[in-house]
């Protein structure tokens, strides 16, 4: 709108200190999320006597953290105003390749895991390259096609077979504890921390935000937009493969049809975490809380044996809530 600050400030110096406003500090999405998380825990505690107990809270993380690894790179992608709906298929393909390499090609399990991560990264890389090479097409179209394609390749490799017989130690990923803490939880914390640092404390993260706000201006400012995009999509593929490892470990085997519709859960968690698909907005801590909210809500309601159709509705409502509330706030605030 019309700018009124034409009258020149006589001062010639600028402040370099970040202005601090208590108001802004407290009106952050993350506080609301934290409040919801506490609400969810309180609700579950009141509903089920089994919920609030260290073992229960701890073991629950083993149930819902597998797909959480993909939420972080998905958050990066969404900040850049793109989306990747092929992650579920990437999970399936990389785990199927892992099982095949181990069982049919006779490689060691360590090799198989490395192959799995490699395949995931390649899937992501292909997505990224297609997206930057064919700028006329949106990421939705390209990842929709690769979603079908990757799943298709998984079917071609394994047909109707399940493949498993992994060595004993492989089960550790999905079921193991270190000093009484689930391995998956430890890795989740580490990965969340690393992604948080990457997004908020590095030049790479700054570039992601820049691209999300204005990719053209970013390019003109010397940001290698294509490279950042390819790297982030590759990361998404890589983290999908991490999920594949955990999933295969928990199930002791894999099939071409695992992880179907994971992409929707992942996108929903990122959106709940305050990542706007309109680009440029959101912080990693929000997604971490959102993962815990969705995970504990599903787990807790599961403990009181809510039918799964009700869970569908609850998750849908939660997602709507997450996107509507900030808008209501804003319109209210403007008045």
């Amino acid at each position: 709108m019309a700018q009124k600050n034409i009258q020149p400030y006589m001062q010639r110096t600028l402040s370099a200190d970040r202005p601090f406003s208590t108001r802004q500090f407290f009106f952050q999405w993350e506080w609301l999320l934290a409040a919801i998380l506490i609400g969810v825990i309180a609700l579950n505690t009141s509903l089920s006597p089994y919920f609030l107990n260290i073992n229960s809270l701890r073991d629950a993380t083993m149930v819902f953290l597998d797909k959480a690894f993909i939420v972080f790179p998905m958050a990066f992608i969404m900040i850049m105003r793109d989306i990747d709906i092929s992650v579920g298929s990437t999970v399936a393909l990389s785990s199927v390749v892992m099982a095949t390499v181990y069982n049919s090609l006779g490689a060691s399990m360590e090799m198989a895991v490395v192959t799995c991560l490699l395949v995931g990264a390649i899937c992501g890389l292909v997505n990224g390259l297609l997206i930057v090479k064919f700028k006329e097409l949106s990421a939705v179209i390209i990842t929709l096609a690769t979603m079908i394609l990757y799943r298709g390749i998984a079917y071609i490799i394994l047909e109707d077979q399940a493949s498993g017989n992994f060595p004993e130690w492989f089960g550790f990923f999905g079921w193991g504890y270190i000093y009484g803490i689930p391995f998956i939880l430890i890795l989740f914390v580490i990965v969340a921390f690393l992604f948080g640092l990457l997004l908020h404390k590095t030049t790479f993260g700054r570039h992601i935000y820049a691209i999300g706000h204005n990719d053209v201006a970013s390019k003109f400012s010397g940001v290698n937009v294509d490279r950042v995009k390819v790297i982030v999509f590759t990361l998404a593929g890589l983290m999908s493969a991490v999920t594949a490892v955990f999933l295969a470990s928990r199930m002791g085997s894999t099939r071409p049809n695992i992880a179907s519709m994971y992409e929707l859960d992942v996108i929903a968690m990122a959106a709940l975490g305050g990542i706007s698909t309109a680009g440029g907005k959101g912080r990693l801590i929000g997604t971490v809380i959102a993962i815990l909210i969705v995970g504990y809500l599903q787990y807790g309601l599961g403990l009181i044996n809510i039918p799964s159709q009700t869970l569908l509705i609850v998750v849908g409502a939660l997602l709507l809530f997450a996107v509507i509330v900030p808008k209501l706030n804003l319109s209210r605030f403007k008045k």
């Binding site: 006597p49 199930m251 002791g252 085997s253 099939r255 992880a259 605030f333």
Partner: protein, 353 residues
């Protein structure tokens, strides 16, 4: 102002979830797990859980009905669960939740024979009796299995039926569920074995098609079968969606009587096609009875009446005494032959399940 609205909306959300929960519970389980102050495992009624493949499946609902009936007779508490998608991942989540709830037994119809092993082993380590039903899990992840019918018999009986319908001669095709459905794959295997017998030498199995238990795909696959094999004489569809879709296609194309249809399907879904003669007869067991006997099997194990070893016997309510027999390296409880549904009896069964 902003804060106020945030607060209000948070409250609205919490209430909506609460109401969703209270609304949802009665449909899902007999009595709420949180009702009793069952802090220790031995207090109150024993808890028996049943996990089906996916929600919204009438076959599973009927099995759950039978299971619940059995548990009510015993005086336990039944917990009925199913994931919204037919995946092993969803079932693993539910198993974890049931372990936390310290149930006494889990009866499961597995979406995958092997993938559930780690979760079910964990459950058994926690002292929970694990029994599979309908779709078996591997022998290491269960105490015993309640088998609706001998797969060999299921395979044999369908080939016998087809042979009778087409006069022992001609091309037949199979329309199955997904290419990964273990039950169906096992049955088809036995069908193929049966076909090797000399009396069926004139019957040729031309194709196994997969309709993925989706209506639209099953219809396309059936149509493709009809076109690719103009001399096709019969279709065997050992899955409800498949047989009903095939019945619909044959009805719409006026091929009833020209191409025979048999297989396994719910009487309610197949009533129209059996009454019209498109499918002269088909088979199925009674899912209510399957669920019912699985309930008693679980109870017998939990109460320590038996250990699930071959040779053990137990009382299964209205179904009388049942015996545990060997099944490979594990054991199972076998429930008679599949039941034949034809024009005569379909009318009385279509409203039951």
């Amino acid at each position: 102002m902003k804060k106020y609205w945030t607060l209000v909306l948070s409250l609205v959300l919490v209430f909506s979830i609460l109401s969703a929960c209270s609304q949802g519970s009665p449909g899902g389980n007999a009595s709420n797990g949180a009702d009793g102050d069952s802090t220790s495992k031995n207090d109150g009624p024993k808890k028996y859980a049943f996990i089906f493949k996916n929600t919204g499946n009438p076959y599973g609902e009927k099995m759950m009905e039978g299971f619940e009936e059995a548990i009510n007779e015993i005086g336990g508490e039944a917990i009925l669960r199913a994931p919204d998608q037919p995946t092993a991942e969803g079932q693993i989540q539910i198993i974890e939740q049931l372990i936390t709830q310290q149930v006494d037994s889990i009866v499961i119809s597995g979406n995958d024979p092997d993938a559930l092993q780690p979760a079910l082993t964990k459950a058994m380590d926690a002292g929970i009796e694990v029994i599979s039903v309908d779709s078996a899990v591997n022998t290491d992840s269960r105490v015993t299995h309640v088998n609706q019918a001998d797969p060999e018999a299921i395979g044999r009986i369908q080939i016998e039926a087809v042979s009778e319908m087409i006069g022992g001669k001609g091309q037949i095709a199979v329309l199955s569920a997904t290419s990964q459905a273990t039950n169906q794959n096992l049955w088809i295997e036995y069908m193929q074995k049966e076909l090797e017998k000399p009396e069926y030498k004139d019957i040729e199995l031309v194709k196994v098609a997969y309709g993925d238990d989706l209506r639209d795909k099953s219809v396309s696959e059936t149509e493709a079968l009809l076109k690719t094999y103009p001399d096709l004489k019969a279709i065997i569809a050992p899955t409800t969606v498949g047989i009903a879709a095939a019945g619909k296609v044959l009805t719409d194309k006026g091929l009833g009587g020209k191409i025979a249809l048999t297989g396994l399907g719910l009487p309610s879904e197949m009533a129209s096609y059996i009454e019209s003669g498109v499918s002269p007869w088909m088979y199925l067991w009674n899912p209510i009875d399957v669920g019912y006997s699985s309930g008693f099997t679980a109870a017998a194990l939990v109460e320590g009446d038996m250990e699930g070893k071959a040779g053990d016997t137990f009382e299964a309510g209205r179904l009388g005494e049942k015996a545990v027999v060997e099944d490979g390296d594990g054991t199972q409880v076998m429930l008679g032959e599949p039941f034949k549904f034809d024009k005569e009896n379909i009318g009385e069964w279509k409203d039951v399940y």
